[in-house]
Symmetry: C2
């Protein structure tokens, strides 16, 4: 089973909401948890439990676990194990990037079946060239895993770099989307390599037109200003391939409110896609 097939099945059974697991220090305090590996573990496990019957996809943010070193990673491993055991599709938001055998090592860390940090997909950064991702792509494909390549992100300070023009005339972001399209061209259904495309960006600024069968991980809903109800207007025919990423707007509901917050946002996403 390819990652694209696995992701389509997750969409079909549990919808397009992607629940962030972002243990910010201020959220840990709000949840009455300690800002240490035990607090991270508890936070992550509670989000997994609330998500398990109400959504299909979770996305832990690695930075907050890395902040506590190896003990933070041990907490993350427990959270990932619980998420996999609950049947959730897990995307590690790691934004790793490097070259050659070093980038392969990152891909192996996260995408090897049985490895302690095993997930279904990771986010990767293309600053070292879209070609630098060839090795991780091969590792992902061999293991039925996926990648989400940063393309056009939702933060304003990224615009200057991501709209830069390559010698080919394409913007940097559009060049990435074109290459990912090619990678996915052999897939009959949803592709196995996705992109990160912020919900708040104007794709016209980047010259990004056709998204084809690319899975789109879309931050920018809720806290950052995009509205779930606008999903069809924002992505057109590609809306069914969008992972609607929501973190703070769910996590700020606290341990007693998170289940209801996930249910409500999942329903909102389903309604927007049915429209």
């Amino acid at each position: 089973m390819t990652f694209g097939e696995r992701l389509r099945s997750a969409f079909d059974t549990g919808g397009n909401l992607c629940v962030g697991i972002d243990p910010h220090a201020f959220l840990l305090a709000q949840w009455n948890l300690t800002d240490d590996p035990a607090g991270l573990r508890e936070f992550g496990l509670r989000v997994v439990e609330a998500a398990s019957t109400r959504a299909a996809i979770v996305k832990p943010q690695v930075a907050f676990f890395e902040r506590h070193g190896s003990a933070g990673f041990a907490a993350l491993e427990d959270v990932l194990g619980a998420a996999r055991a609950a049947g959730l599709l897990v995307i590690a938001d790691a934004k790793r990037g490097d070259i050659g055998s070093t980038f392969d090592a990152y891909a192996s860390a996260w995408l090897t079946p049985g490895s302690p940090l095993e997930v279904h997909a990771i986010t990767v950064s293309p600053y070292l060239g879209i070609g630098s991702i060839e090795g991780p792509r091969a590792i992902a494909a061999a293991n039925g895993k996926g990648l989400f390549v940063l393309a056009a992100t939702s933060n304003p300070e990224a615009l200057a770099l991501q709209t830069s023009r390559m010698a080919s005339g394409s913007t940097v972001a559009a060049g990435i989307v074109e290459e990912v399209q090619q990678w996915n061209s052999a897939d009959a259904g949803l592709g196995s390599v996705g992109i990160v495309l912020g919900a708040t960006v104007d794709r016209g600024d980047f010259g990004i037109t056709d998204l084809g069968n690319i899975p789109v991980l879309a931050p920018g809903f809720g806290h950052q200003g995009a509205r779930i109800g606008d999903l069809r207007a924002l992505y057109g025919a590609a809306a069914a391939n969008v992972l609607v990423s929501a973190s703070r707007s769910i996590l700020a509901a606290g341990p007693s409110g998170i289940a209801a917050a996930i249910e409500q946002q999942a329903a909102e996403v389903a309604e927007a896609l049915a429209a």
Copy 2:
């Protein structure tokens, strides 16, 4: 003491060679070490021991430790602790990048005094915009720590992206160098924010001219083709600010040959700078 001052002092006392700690699987096998956390730890500690009296700077490659999950990070913490205790200046080659409070979390993980992964500087990726690095820069400065921002790297597949033209007319890589120059403009001596600039790149391709007081982490020597003897020809007046990064050409000497390999390359770097 700023990171720039600390780095200058390292150059003055121990030279400009930066010894990579890259436990590739093939090197672990060559060293008769197991490809597991115990093998990584032993490999790292032996490199630190050999470097401690023969060089001033080491650069562990995080990907190879991450490959073994939390236990790999625990091994890395031991290696970092030994390197700090030996008085080495330690740069974690992590290439982290993100936005806002998430990028701050990565900076805190590596640059907070007393944190388990504490080092003197980390490499960071600017794909999310050079402005995304403002938070980590503030954290680094507050702690007397440093950053090395990826600018123009030594791998050929990076050229298309890194030579793209921003609306300002600068290439992406030159835009990063210009911004880092500004960040360092208040520093009387060596700046505290460096760049990664491959020794094999033609700076003309990127429109990078003046390097000012920017510390330059330069991979590309040895295995990738650049010659240490060409240091002055490659970097001109900035040669004294270059960290000559060497990994495989030293590590392939094996446990019995590594001390001599470090001595020889350190001498070669000193000779090239004295020329």
